[in-house]
Structure formats: C-alpha cells, structure tokens
C-alpha cells in the first residue's frame, strides 16, 4: 500500500491549490478525486469570476482570503498560463435605496483592503459600460476584479502539482477510513487503498460525508444550485466588465459575465436543494435569469444562447468558509463550505491550510528543486499568422483544425490527452473544442477519432465524462445479422 505524508481529498480548485502549495515541500502528497478527471465537480460549473472582495464583511474568513487570493493571480498566471484578465467588476444600482447598499459595499471593500474601488455616478458608470440599462442611477467599480477559465486554472494547478511530485488518483471515491497508530488507511469504492499521515478534506459537496467517514465533526453541506447561460462569442450587446446587481441578503444576484475567452455568461440562479447530483436545468429559471440580466443590460438576448448548464455550490450554515483542524479526528483538516468566492480565495486558502498544517506539527522543508512554472501550450486561436506558419512547420498537427467554432487544432487535442484528459468533457474544458456555437456538432467525431488513435481506446470505450456516459454503443460491423424492418406495404 502506498503511504503518503498528506492525502488531499478532492481535486477541485481548493484541493488542487492545496496540493500544489504542499508540493513545494519535502512531502509525499496524494490528490484523490472521485470523478474521472480533475475539476469535474463543483469547479467545473464555476462562473469564473475573480472577485474584488467587497461582498463580505471584514469579520469573515471569506473576505480575508478573497482579498488575499485576488492579488495572487498575476503571479500565478505567469507561472501557470491560464486565461485570466482583470476586466473589472461593476455593481449597478437602480434606486436611491440600492445606492445605500452600494455605499455599504464600498465601505466594506475599503475595510477589506480592496485596491482601486470607487463609487460611480450615473455618468461615470455609463461611461464605463455604455450598454448598461440607462435607468441605472450609479454604482460601484472595482477594477481589481477579473475573469478566468476556472477549469483551466484547476488543470494548470494539477499539472504543476504533478510536476512537483504530487500523485493524482482519479476515480478514487473515498468510502472508508480507519486510523491505526498515526496513520490513516483510506479505501476507495473500487477497493484500492492508500495510507496517509495527514488528511485534507476538500471534498466540496461531499465534505460532510468525508468528515463522517473519518470520524470527524458532523455537519451538513447543502447544495445550492445555480443555472447559467452561455452566449455567442460574436454577439453584440454585451459588456466588457462583470456586472452585478445590488445584492440581497441571500445572494449576489444574477449577473452578466464576459468570459475571458470572449463569450458571455448570464446567471447564476441560487436555489437550495437536497440532491447533490441534481444538475438539471428548468424552464422557470430561464425566464428569471433573462428577466434579471436584461434589467442590467437590456440588449441581452435569448437568441445568443449556445448552451445552458447548472452547478451546485457546497454551502454550510452561516455561509463562511470552514477551514479548521478537526477537534475530534487527529491530523484531519476541514476545508469545507468553499462556495463563492472559493475560486478567488483558493490560492489564499492553500496558504492558510499550509500554515494550519505547519502549526499542527507537519514538518515543512522547502524543496530546492520545486519549479512553480509549467510550459505554456501554444493555442492556435491566439497566435499571429507568422507564428502559426512557423508552428505548423514544426508540428503539422497545428495545421489541422478540429473545432472550427473555437479554432482548436489537433495539436492542442493531443496535448490535452497527454495531460491525462481522455474524456470528451476533459478535452473540451482543456482545449475549448466543442464549447463554441455548434456545441460539438462538427468536431465530436474528430475528437473521438484522435482520442481512439492516441489512447488505443475503442470508440465504444470513450465517454463524455466517465461512468456510463458512453458516446456510441456499437460498430455497425458488430450488429447481429437479422431481418431488419422493411417497408410495410
């Protein structure tokens, strides 16, 4: 049985950031993920906003880690090359009453240490975003807010962690754990076992279940569903900054989010549920999202929708992050209730957890060979023509376009596969193939072909995202010979 110093449970953004942070030290670290690829849980459906840090009060752990996390992204991007842009965040107010809340947010932001935050008059906010509803009376501008591709960030964190020695175990769904002396034995649903001295519980929606498995504190994670709509890249009528409405006590509201790759998202809703697997979208929420989005930006149009999806936020009562050493289970750290602004905070959460482990007795010795950088993958759509020509000469696979909507070459698909992303969704999130307006109508068969060729999997073995999500059932040549239904006279 493989024995690790630390097992991090959950390869979402939180677990990935923690694992990467720990990879800087002389430690053996295992990153356990129940899905077949990283980022396939909560992080996959994240809105991709790097919050500025004015939404939560200075007394919360959330606010501290949010502001601290925000400033870490520039350095991280230089090391990890994920798509990230400080496009700025606006809060648009539509009444004097709402302006009072905006003022409170401003003061909160100042208290939290948000850089560059400013109150905006109507003229100022409309000058920043002319497409805002002209009924706007004023608002807030936080230029340090930004946007990111959340799954790409996770992929980069994991790639970097792996490069520095972290072992990733996918399809490792923790079902059992027991402690023998100072060592935990952890068993997965498929029966494989590992041992670890320390455990970090970053299991997202299932952090409560994992806590119980380890005999730690008893709490309950409630899924809060958010539905979002993705809009066309060439569509006009959208903003270049993230636009929030004035928040209510329960929610930051539904917003208009330009994505870092040039499309736009509208949403998300916030509906408490009890099913942690329920990611179904509904017709009612469609109406609500568009009603709210158009109140902010009237030119938002259903005609531009290319897809919709739902994600689940792992919420705890009290709504703050729960990052603590267990008082019951030894050497066990809870990193639970990491919902918004969990993505923004994740690098700071990793620091915080690292310090927590150190204080609890984990010996951290820096590794001189630690390399925070990963190579940057060249992506066809962002290169100047001269460089494209050069690149194709070196690698003809760059000359083969697989996804026409998002201009993704075969070379990029192969790079995704090399990084271990061997499902259609894994490749889609790594490369954007299938994420554009045709939603895979044109490129699915090409990706299947390349996947099969590169991995040796048969077409029937390839899945959309693991489990029973197969794409094709059988080859025509394997069909039983029988009389087929003919013409009924």
């Amino acid at each position: 049985m493989q024995h690790y110093d630390v097992a991090v449970i959950g390869a979402g953004v939180t677990g990935a950031a923690i694992a990467r942070r720990l990879s800087a030290y002389r430690l053996s670290v295992a990153l356990l993920e129940r899905e077949c690829d990283v980022s396939f849980g909560v992080s996959k459906a994240n809105s991709g906003i790097i919050h500025a840090g004015f939404h939560h009060g200075p007394q919360t752990l959330k606010a501290r880690l949010e502001v601290r996390g925000n400033v870490m992204y520039d350095a991280l991007q230089r090391e990890l090359h994920f798509p990230f842009k400080r496009c700025g965040i606006l809060v648009a107010a539509f009444s004097i009453e709402e302006m009072k809340t905006v003022e409170r947010l401003y003061e909160q932001g100042v208290a939290n240490g948000v850089i560059g935050i400013e109150m905006c008059s109507r003229a100022r906010i409309l000058a920043l975003e002319p497409k805002l509803n002209p009924d706007v009376v004023g608002g807030l501008h936080a230029p340090s807010g930004g946007i990111i591709e959340p799954y790409r960030f996770v992929f980069s964190l994991v790639e970097s962690a792996k490069k520095n020695g972290v072992e990733l175990l996918t399809e490792f769904d923790v079902v059992e754990a027991h402690r023998d002396g100072a060592v935990y034995t952890i068993r997965s649903s498929s029966g494989s076992e590992i041992a670890a001295d320390w455990v970090v519980n970053a299991a997202g929606l299932y952090a409560d279940k994992v806590s119980r498995i380890f005999g730690a504190e008893d709490y309950e994670i409630t899924p809060r569903k958010g539905e979002e709509f993705l809009m066309e890249r060439d569509a006009k009528g959208y903003t270049s900054r993230v636009v929030f409405p004035v928040p209510t006590p329960n929610s930051k509201g539904m917003l208009v989010i330009p994505t870092v790759e040039g499309t736009t998202m509208v949403g998300p809703t916030a509906v408490e549920g009890d099913d942690k697997e329920d990611k179904a979208t509904t017709a009612e929420n469609f109406e609500r999202v568009f009603y709210s989005a158009r109140r902010l930006v009237p030119t938002v149009s259903e005609r531009d929708i290319i897809t919709s999806f739902a994600g689940l936020r792992p919420t705890l009562p009290g709504d703050d992050f729960y990052i603590e050493l267990s008082k019951i289970a030894p050497s066990f750290v809870h990193v639970a209730g990491i919902q918004s602004p969990g993505l923004t905070a994740s690098p700071a959460v990793a620091e915080y957890v690292k310090d927590l482990l150190k204080r609890a007795g984990l010996v951290l010795i820096e590794k001189p060979e630690y390399d925070p950088n990963i190579p940057e993958l060249k992506r066809l759509r962002s290169l100047p023509m001269e460089e494209v020509d050069e690149l194709i000469t070196q690698d003809p696979a760059y000359g083969e376009i697989v996804c026409r909507c998002e201009t993704v070459s075969e070379a990029e698909i192969k790079a995704a596969i090399k990084q271990g992303h061997t499902t259609l969704d894994g490749i889609k999130f790594y490369t954007r193939a299938g994420m554009g307006r045709c939603q895979g109508g044109f490129c699915t068969y090409k990706v299947l072909k390349i996947l099969s060729r590169e991995t040796g999997m048969s077409w029937e073995e390839i899945t959309r995202r693991g489990g029973g999500s197969y794409i094709t059932k059988e080859h025509i040549g394997d069909l039983p010979v029988k009389s087929l239904p003919g013409r009924v006279e």
Partner: protein, 420 residues
C-alpha cells in the same frame, strides 16, 4: 507563408462551392476551392440515401453520387485548384482584392489574394442550447447530422432506443436510418402543428416504419445522469407545454433535428451584414453581400431543402461573380425586394429590372390553393396559382423586364412578394 494570386476563391467544396467553381472556371477564370475536409462533397458525403438530383439531373441519385458528378467536373477543369484539408482562419478586405488566410497541415499558412470570393460554407445544425430543452446534461444527445455522420461514415451506432426532436429532413432520414441499423425509434416530437420536413420524407421515413409523429409536442425535460435515460414529452396547449398531459418515454439517445443555420464564421470575418430572417448575408441582385466582391450562395445564404436548388443558385452566383470580374453589370440598376404577406423571406434582397431575376422564398403558412403575388410599389405585376404551400418547401419563381417594365428612375420600385 505562401501567397496565391487567383481570380476567384470559393470557400467550401460542398454542393454550392463545386457548382460555383465549375461555372467560374468554364468562363475562363482561375479558381481556388478551400475545403476543410480531406474530401470534396461536403455534407452530401454522409447523405447516403437517395432522392438527390431529381430536378437537376432528372434522375434519382444518392448524396455521394450527386457530389461525385461535380467532383468529376471540377477535376476536369485545369483552371481549378483544390486546397482540401484547409481551413480559413482570417479574411481581409482591401478594396479590389480580398485576402483569405487558410491553414493546412501540409501547406502551413496560405494567403489567397483574390479578385472575388464566393462564400459556400453551408450551414450548421441548431442544438439543444438554441432551443433550450431543460433537464440534465447526460451523454447521448446528438444533432441528427452528427448521428448521421457517426453511422454512415464512421460506422458507429449512437444508441438503441431513440427519440427524435423536430421533424426536419435530417431527423426524418435518421429515423429511418436508425431503424435500419436495428434501433427502435420511439417518437418524433415536433413543436409545430405540421411537420417541418418534406412530405415525401414523412411518408418514406416515418409512416413506412410506423414511427409515431407527435405534432404540437415538445420535449419538456431530459432525464439521466451519465447517459440519457428518458425524456418527458408534453403537448402544446395555448402555446405552453401542458405538463398535466405529459408522459415519459424511456430512451438512451436523443437526436435533434431542430433547424439549420447558415455557418457565418467566414462571413463575419468580413463584417458582412446579416439578415435576421435567414441568418445568412443580405445580398443584392447579383448575390453580392454588403462587402463588395464577396458573394454568397447555397446554404450559407439561406437553408435550402433540395440540393438541386443549391446547385442552380451557386451556378447563377458564379455567373454574377464572372460578370463582376469582367467589369460588366457594374451600372445595373437595382431596387429593393421585400417579403409580403405570409412570407418569411425572399432572396435576393434586390432585383435588377432590366434582366431576368430568379427568386427563392419561404412561406410562413400551410395552405392549399394559394396565390403567389408580386407587387411593384403596390401594383400587382405577377401572380401565380399554387396548389399547396408549406414552410418546409421552398418556392421559386422568375420574373424579368416584361413584368418589371414600370420600374423606372423616378420611383421607389419596391417589389413585394406575398402568398395568400
């Protein structure tokens, strides 16, 4: 980077591109076809059923056979160079010359420097997001065209128990195709009170296989976590799904045949004006877009239901392209064409009163015994009786100087085409 100087660049080597290239070459111009697939023929290659060519060749061909005829013609014309496995990634308008950048694994970046460009990229399928079907997001949801590709070219069967959303032609063809590979098609669900595919396909692909067609119904939800496990279908009553009458159909595969949209990726690179009724470019009487020297034909202009009309339109388009290059027709007077009563669109959007003009239009109604009427500034100039019209069947007519004699310099000369 290779520089290729040429008279005409044709973007797309499907039915429209092949016909346009052939015509331009016959008139003595040098032509480059840029085709993203390895093989010419476009979507025809996966349409292995018959029914193609009845109008154009007066015989019944399969899709690949229809394509082959044009591939052979193109192959016999030395003025045409074919760049297959090549994709357009950028375009530049520099007045008299158009620059098209394309890449291929063998050639790297190619810069085409052309006098005129014909857009012939065809269309793409609308998908789940475009029509907003609620529910889970399992594997097993395919556009009908993708499923057709998987079965007919790659040889893989997507599933065994199928429900088809939308009664577009590809959906109907796939209902039959899936039955032939031993799958069970449980239902075809159409939101409109009438089918959106050709009548002959309803008969040959559904009725002959006893596949039920649910008109005025929608798929109100998709079920299943990993793979599709079923759908809930509901009748439309008072324009809303009547959930109390909804029922569940178990299936592992959902095929979507919910409409086609012109693929404007390349048109957008030239900032061509788009007509929201067709989702294709606005074109003048010569099928020239708002970008001078850039023409459009076939399904990238408007979605046709028969390839024969694509061929006809593309051939005519190439004629205009040649006139443009040769400097004729420059002074041609042109006036506006508008859709009238019960007409979704009429193309082209302009007409030239001094010559023959061929129009295509799509009605918005299903009706027997109707009149197609053309008015010039409100005055009727042409009328024809038609036994039956429906939105799924494109209509065409030709009028010329005889009918358009009154279009003179002093009036608006708006032509309006209606059906009632």
């Amino acid at each position: 980077m290779k520089e290729i100087k040429i008279d005409v660049v044709v973007v797309g080597g499907g039915s429209a591109g092949l016909a346009a290239a052939a015509e331009a070459a016959r008139r003595g111009h040098s032509v480059a076809i840029i085709e993203r697939e390895v093989q010419l023929g476009g979507i025809l290659n996966q349409c292995i059923h018959n029914g193609f060519g009845l109008h154009y060749f007066k015989e019944e061909l399969t899709g690949p056979e229809y394509a082959e005829r044009f591939v052979d013609i193109v192959g016999g014309l030395p003025a045409i160079r074919v760049h297959s496995d090549s994709a357009v990634i950028a375009g530049e308008d520099s007045g008299d010359r158009k620059r098209i950048y394309a890449i291929s694994p063998k050639e790297g970046v190619m810069r085409f420097n052309a006098r005129a460009v014909v857009l012939a990229m065809g269309c793409r399928e609308r998908n789940r997001g475009n029509i907003g079907i609620p529910g889970t997001r399992p594997s097993g949801i395919f556009t009908a065209g993708l499923a057709q590709r998987l079965v007919n070219i790659d040889g893989y069967v997507p599933g065994r128990n199928v429900v088809i959303v939308g009664s577009g032609d590809i959906g109907l063809i796939m209902a039959r195709r899936m039955s032939w590979v031993g799958a069970t098609v449980h239902a075809v669900v159409e939101i409109q009170p009438y089918p959106s595919g050709l009548t002959r396909n309803i008969a040959q692909c559904l009725n002959d296989f006893r596949i039920p067609l649910y008109l005025s119904h929608v798929v109100a939800a998709i079920h299943g976590k990993d793979r599709v496990e079923g759908v809930t279908i509901a009748p439309i009553i008072d324009q809303h799904p009547a959930m109390e009458q909804a029922k569940r159909i178990d299936c592992d595969t959902l095929l979507l045949s919910v409409g086609l949209v012109p693929d404007n990726e390349v048109a957008n690179k030239f900032k061509v004006e788009i007509n929201p009724e067709t989702n294709g470019a606005y074109v003048d009487a010569r099928l020239m877009t708002s970008c001078r020297g850039l023409f459009a034909c076939g399904n990238v202009l408007h979605v046709h239901d028969l390839v024969d009309f694509v061929t006809e339109e593309a051939t005519r388009c190439a004629g205009f392209v040649c006139d443009y290059i040769e400097g004729e027709g420059k002074e041609e007077r042109q006036y506006k064409v508008m859709p009238g009563k019960n007409v979704k669109y009429v193309l082209p959007n302009m007409y030239a009163p001094e010559r023959e003009n061929r129009f295509y239009l799509r009605p918005m109604i299903v009706k027997n015994d109707v009149h197609l009427t053309v008015t010039l500034d409100g005055e009727q100039v042409y009328s024809r009786r038609l036994p039956h019209v429906q939105p799924s069947e494109m209509m065409s007519f030709t009028i010329g100087p005889k009918q358009l004699v009154k279009a003179d310099h002093d009036r608006a000369n708006v032509l309006e085409v209606g059906v009632e």
